[in-house]
């Protein structure tokens, strides 16, 4: 293997002789040195000669970047009105240089990002239009879902039970351990925090009411929905988005399968069954957690806890929480699918829409929870 040791230092010198400028280049005009070479080319001052002779005899090596910078040097001097003559171009590089000369990229313009008030207004406007489009997309997919459901009611064999069961297994059964653990801890924490303050008024026993009502009406379903949005909503978006990226969705269309029926419906139905189920498990776990802390921290034995709980709760308390679950599931499923279908070609877009899916569905879950709170207050439950 030959070892090239550069014998000539990297240099670009100019020597004026009357109207002729002799420019001598030397060194390795390679990509590694491109920055230095560019600086030399840019800072070279030849004055205003009528003719320039470029001597390349001392150039040891050259690659595309060197050839391009040579081309730029030539163009710069021609721009000054000089005739340029290239001397002693090493034979090995003639083809490269002539190849580069046939390409003329347009004059370089630096890219700048505009930051102005107009830009701010533009971005805000775009966002609002985007929100409008989202609403249309969600209602569109909801409408399609209803149509598909009606179709399924007329032809019950069209429902994809296996697919529903598979999605239920992943989104529902798979989430049980984490939901139970989370709710158990939250129930315990509520009991401890509530007890800490209520004890000062000697109202220890109302911790049971606090835990029972809070968990069954609000916390149980809300926390479970948030966990499901983060766990299954993101998975739905990523799956559908990846299918969209690889034209699998288009393939389904072409085969004549209805995407809403095949992909969206099983997921949404599975989620609408799974979320109430998870909520029940979550509620139970939170009550157990609360009872355990009440026993250890507030000395309320389990039997008394059960008695107080029975006094504090009615069937309505439980139903207030559970009623919300299918609606939240519907929203999580719809948002996840809409975001999934919005994914475009790049992996970045997949990431963006998965994030958006989780953020939007958690936000919507909380909004819906608020609406339900107003509704239940209105009807006096």
């Amino acid at each position: 293997m030959t070892v090239h040791v550069p014998v000539n230092p990297l240099n670009l010198s100019v020597h004026r002789d009357d109207d002729v400028a002799y420019v001598a280049a030397s060194g390795s005009w390679l990509l590694d040195n491109a920055r230095a070479v560019e600086e030399m080319v840019e800072s070279l001052d030849v004055g205003r000669p009528g003719k320039v002779v470029l001597d390349l005899s001392a150039v040891d090596a050259m690659d595309t970047s060197g050839a391009w910078l040579l081309h730029r040097l030539q163009a710069k001097m021609e721009f000054l009105g000089a005739r340029v003559k290239v001397d002693n171009l090493p034979e090995d590089y003639q083809e490269l240089v002539s190849g580069v000369e046939t390409h003329h990229p347009p004059p370089w313009k630096p890219r700048k990002r505009r930051i102005s008030l107009a830009w701010l207004a533009e971005v805000t406007g775009r966002q609002i239009v985007e929100i409008g489009r989202d609403a249309v997309a969600v209602t569109n997919i909801l409408g399609t879902l209803v149509m598909v459901l009606l179709n399924v009611v007329r032809h019950p064999s069209r429902i994809r039970l296996i697919s529903v069961a598979h999605q239920f297994d992943r989104a529902g059964i798979g989430a049980v351990p984490i939901v139970v653990l989370m709710c158990f801890l939250i129930g315990g924490i509520i009991a401890q925090q509530g007890g800490f303050y209520l004890r000062q008024f000697g109202a220890d026993r109302y911790v049971v009411d606090l835990v029972g009502v809070l968990v069954l009406r609000e916390i149980g379903v809300l926390l479970t929905a948030i966990m499901v949005a983060g766990r299954s909503g993101s998975a739905f978006t990523a799956e559908l988005g990846s299918m969209k990226m690889h034209e699998e969705i288009d393939a389904l269309h072409v085969i004549g399968m209805r995407v809403t029926e095949v992909l969206v419906l099983p997921r949404v139905i599975a989620l609408m069954i799974a979320l109430p189920m998870l909520t029940i498990f979550g509620n139970l776990a939170a009550l157990v957690g609360g009872g355990l802390v009440s026993w250890m921290y507030l000395d309320i034995p389990p039997f008394s806890f059960m008695l107080f709980l029975k006094e504090a709760l009615t069937v309505e308390t439980l139903l207030v929480g559970l009623t919300k679950a299918p609606f939240m599931a519907l929203i999580i499923g719809l948002v996840a699918c809409v975001e999934g279908f919005k994914v475009r070609g790049s992996s970045e877009s997949l990431g963006v829409h998965t994030t958006l899916s989780v953020v939007k569905s958690i936000f919507m879950v909380i909004v819906v929870d608020g609406l339900f709170a107003m509704y239940f207050a209105g009807i006096g439950v």
Binding site: M1, P6, S28, V100, G345, S346, S347
Partner: protein, 268 residues
């Protein structure tokens, strides 16, 4: 300032014509109980275009991936530019990686970057260049591989199959490598596009002094562009040499490949 800037650029990795750029000895690769390659030897000579053929599933891509260090080898050594890859330090390996370019079968362009940014990824990673020079060089490469100028700002998802191959070749050439690995560069292209791609590879070889390692199934490519052909079969290189050697070689697969109906048309 000039003298010290060269030191790193001293191209100990610049092969001259006729040197052995890549030398594989006793390469053995297996998955689980099955060996895909066993005691495989291969030489690639500077400045040549080596075509690599073999039946589907004989491990052409596995060999390329093993050479590139993407698939671990059970035994054997690979020397690139005279450096043994296995024992090379991180810095030495980076220097070798800077001197090779790879065109993956599916292009493997970064989908969240446009073509210009894709080409600039290796430049940004390995060199400190001014934004102007990087943009100009990227455009130059885009034109050299025969893409229209407005492809620079397009994203991979907006490109056709042939354009993806060209853009990917432009990225492989971003650092003016000494050797490029092409995995089925003409598959999926129409015959005219494939012929133009072959022509392009020959032009670039002549202009940039490239060495080309090309995995291909395209008999036309083998005939028109390749200086040497290597046939992979029975877990090793069955035969290597110019086209005439292939035609004369007596092995059932090699015979049916080069003398089959598709091959016969060419040989008339």
């Amino acid at each position: 300032m000039q003298a010290q800037t060269i030191s790193k650029g001293a191209r100990f990795l610049a092969p001259s014509k006729g040197d052995i750029v890549l030398q594989a000895r006793g390469v053995t690769v297996g998955f689980g109980d099955t060996l895909v390659l066993e005691n495989l030897d291969l030489d690639v000579i500077a400045g040549e275009i080596l075509g690599f053929v073999g039946a589907s599933g004989t491990g052409k891509s596995v060999l390329m991936r093993a050479i590139l260090g993407l698939t671990p080898m059970r035994r054997g050594t690979v020397e690139v530019f005279g450096q043994v890859l296995k024992t090379l330090s991180d810095a030495g390996r980076a220097e070798v990686e800077r001197r090779w370019g790879v065109l993956f079968q599916q292009g493997a362009l970064f989908s969240s970057l446009n073509v210009r940014q894709n080409i600039q990824v290796p430049m940004r990673e390995h060199l400190k260049l001014s934004p102007r020079l990087m943009d100009e060089l990227a455009l130059l490469k885009i034109e050299m591989v025969g893409l229209p100028r407005d492809a620079a700002e397009k994203f991979p998802s907006e490109l056709s199959g042939g354009m993806i191959k060209r853009a990917s070749l432009a990225r492989a050439l971003a650092l003016d490598p000494a050797i490029v690995f092409l995995d089925e560069p003409t598959s999926g292209l129409d015959p005219i596009g494939a012929a133009a791609f072959d022509e392009l590879i020959m032009q670039l070889r002549d202009a940039l002094g490239l060495t080309v390692y090309m995995v291909t199934h395209d008999l036309d490519s083998l005939h028109t562009t390749c200086d040497r052909i290597a046939v992979l079969g029975e877990k090793r290189v069955l035969v290597e040499g110019p086209m005439d050697t292939m035609l004369a070689f007596d092995h059932p697969w090699v015979r049916s490949y080069f003398h089959g109906t598709r091959g016969a048309r060419r040989n008339d």
